[in-house]
Amino acid sequence: MTYINGIASISPQHSFGNNPLDGIVSSLSRKFECIEPDYSPWIDPRAIRRMSKIIRTGVAAAALALKEAGIEKPDAIVTGTGLGCITDTTQFLTRLIQNKEEALNPTPFIQSTHNTVASQIALLLQCFGYNQTYSQRGFSFENALHDAMMLLEEKSAQNVLIGGIDEVTDVTVKIFDRFGFSKAVHGEGAAFFVLSDAPMNAWAEIAGMRTIYKPKESTQVTSQLKDLLEAAETRMEDIDLILLGSDDDQTRNSIINKMNVPFSPPTYSFKELCGEYSTASSFALWLGVMAIKKGFFPNRPQPEQVKKVLIYNPYFNQHHSLILLKAC
């Protein structure tokens, strides 16, 4: 069993700290940026000046998730990021070009590797355990989640800190737009979770996950969904809420109609809240856990009690992921 014992999110919404999601923020431009909290309770102010946004949001969200779980040091740290530390990367590249390869400050290079956030967390916590970073586009967070679930299954860890982290920049917006993904608002975020083999004060439980890479037919997704539900002994009718990573009706219908269920569960397009980015499913997981724990949901008639949540993220129709969450 995979229990979620602590969660935290820094996102374009008011998601960090007290009264999360109190008032919904809409994107005013193509770039939907995080609302950053006061970091002083979480990170040493001297350290923070050197941290790019992806590092400080990641480190702070990790710290809050651990606090919520009542854990000082996890047995393992696993992160997923699509583009990694893209601000530091582009900064080093820009200087390299402008300075014609001379007299370069190494700091942005040092902080440009994708594992920087997981390493910084390990460094701050003095955590010598398993440390891993995945970068698989729309499956980056799903890879991290799968690894963590396996660590618990293998009994090589009891508490695993996992997170999905990405940042949006002017350059990434321009590039994604150029490749025809121009409908999406480009978002970012850091969402962290403590996954454990025991419930402690669990917020929810992960009942299963499936990923489908570039399905040739939509039936591949529905058959994986059926398989996922069956393995979790759940019927589609039992789902109280679907968090959908798409706002187009075709995607919605393709999955829901094909399930042949008497009625379809309420669906919500979660990217209205966080924008599109490689690890947006980590924000959806945070949102799903919030719905279960707080029975709270933005901008929608409130379901009376949310016990089961299905997250379906068809990332650019290439990386399809399904995550099933249930109340403990």
Partner: protein
């Protein structure tokens, strides 16, 4: 019962050869692949590097690939195809790829960026496969291994971690066949990055030598084909060796420097030994991380000494041949480790002259064969304190 994890196929391309056979010949003849930079223009072209001496066009032609791929993808497909083609599989197994890379498509992204920074009409097609994961997806599609795709970027330990993860997926029954390893190509980005850290040797690197002055960068790819007991049996394959243990830890000391006592690397090696249920004395050869920097070799040496005590196994850094291939090094050196077991040989640590003061062992200087090599340990440590160690057993 958990399946064992068998290595049944190898593919490697680096500065010392584009096949396993060419690589072995280079080792036998003490022929390293380090030399001046020719791949791209750079003010640092005097620095020695370990280039794969084949242009992108030649690679694409040889692979019969249409469309323009970045160098990382081409090198990756080259080695991964070699690995998979060396194994005859007739049944529709669940096949996946797990690759470690740190630069992804940076070799083309940096061309895009120089146009972009200059305010020119930049060619956006150059960044299409920038993402590390994109490189792996291209390789997965080329091989038809898309049932599981993972890219790991833990800096220089990336591809050992991808082999470890692949082993766990097979053990737990999530995959039947895994192509696991990693790839990185030389880029202006990494050359300047390491140069800004002042850890590049202006001469040929001297890993584990008292007078070492830094590392030389390299490039390449190394992949293993891993299968479960069932695949081995049903396909009547020959098991080259098994993956018997591994450890992944964090040094938690500094973003780029290793702790003096090598606590992270010690823990990684110790945990690899524990999971393999082997005693230190059973390890016959260690393929060291051995970058050639003051800090890494001292830290790793101290950790090796502490773990193995007075009887340190035969050990060497093959980066004295290939240069440091960053995210690919774990995959490339995994192939070398399996070659060591299969051929009963160990590889020389070139240019070693004098022992480091902090340890009482020296790396081997000569190519040796006709040895009974049963267990090989391979180390990979990276920025961010990521330390991994893996053990292959015959």
């Amino acid at each position: 019962m958990e399946s064992r994890v068998h290595v049944v196929g190898l593919g490697v391309i680096s500065a010392i050869g584009k096949t396993v056979d060419e690589t072995l010949t280079s080792f036998e003849n003490h022929r390293h692949g380090l030399g001046p930079l020719s791949l791209f223009d750079s003010v640092h072209r005097q620095l020695p590097v370990g280039e794969v001496k084949i242009s992108n066009t030649q690679l694409a032609n040889e692979l019969a690939i249409k469309g323009s791929f970045n160098r990382t993808t081409l090198l990756g497909i080259y080695a991964a195809r070699h690995a998979l083609n060396s194994v005859k599989l007739s049944l529709p197994w669940r096949r996946g790829i797990l690759s470690g890379t740190t630069v992804g498509g940076m070799d083309r992204s940096e061309k895009f960026f120089s146009q972009y920074v200059a305010g020119a009409d930049a060619d956006f097609s150059l960044v299409k496969d920038h993402e590390c994961g994109s490189v792996t997806e291209r390789i997965a599609e080329d091989l038809g291994a898309t049932d599981h795709i993972s890219t790991i970027n833990t800096a220089c330990s990336s591809s050992v971690n991808s082999i470890i993860y692949a082993s766990r997926l097979i053990k737990q029954g999530y995959l039947d066949v895994a192509i696991a390893g990693g790839v990185d190509s030389l880029t202006k980005f990494t050359l300047n990055g390491f140069n800004s850290l002042m850890i590049l040797d202006k001469e040929l690197c001297k890993p584990f030598d008292a007078d070492r002055n830094g590392l030389n960068l390299g490039e390449g790819a190394g992949f293993l084909v891993l299968v479960s007991d069932q695949v081995l049996r049903d396909e009547a394959l020959n098991s080259l060796c098994t993956i018997s243990g591994y450890g992944n830890t964090n040094d938690a000391f500094h973003q780029t420097a290793s702790s003096e006592d090598g606590r992270g690397s010690f823990l990684a090696m110790e945990s690899a030994l524990r999971s393999s249920r082997l005693k230190p004395s059973q390890i016959d050869y260690i393929n060291l991380h051995g970058t050639g920097t003051k800090n890494n070799d001292s830290s790793e040496g101290v950790a090796v000494q502490r773990l193995f005590g007075d009887i340190v196994p035969l050990a060497s850094s093959t980066k004295s041949f290939t240069g440091h291939t960053l995210g690919a090094s774990g995959g490339i050196e995994a192939v070398f480790s399996v070659m060591s077991l299969v051929h009963g040989c160990v590889f020389p640590n070139l240019r070693f002259q004098s022992k480091m003061a902090e340890v009482n062992f020296s790396p081997i200087r000569e190519f040796k064969n006709a040895l009974n090599v049963r267990h090989v340990m391979s180390n990979s440590f990276g920025f961010g304190g990521n330390c991994s160690s893996i053990i292959f057993s015959r």
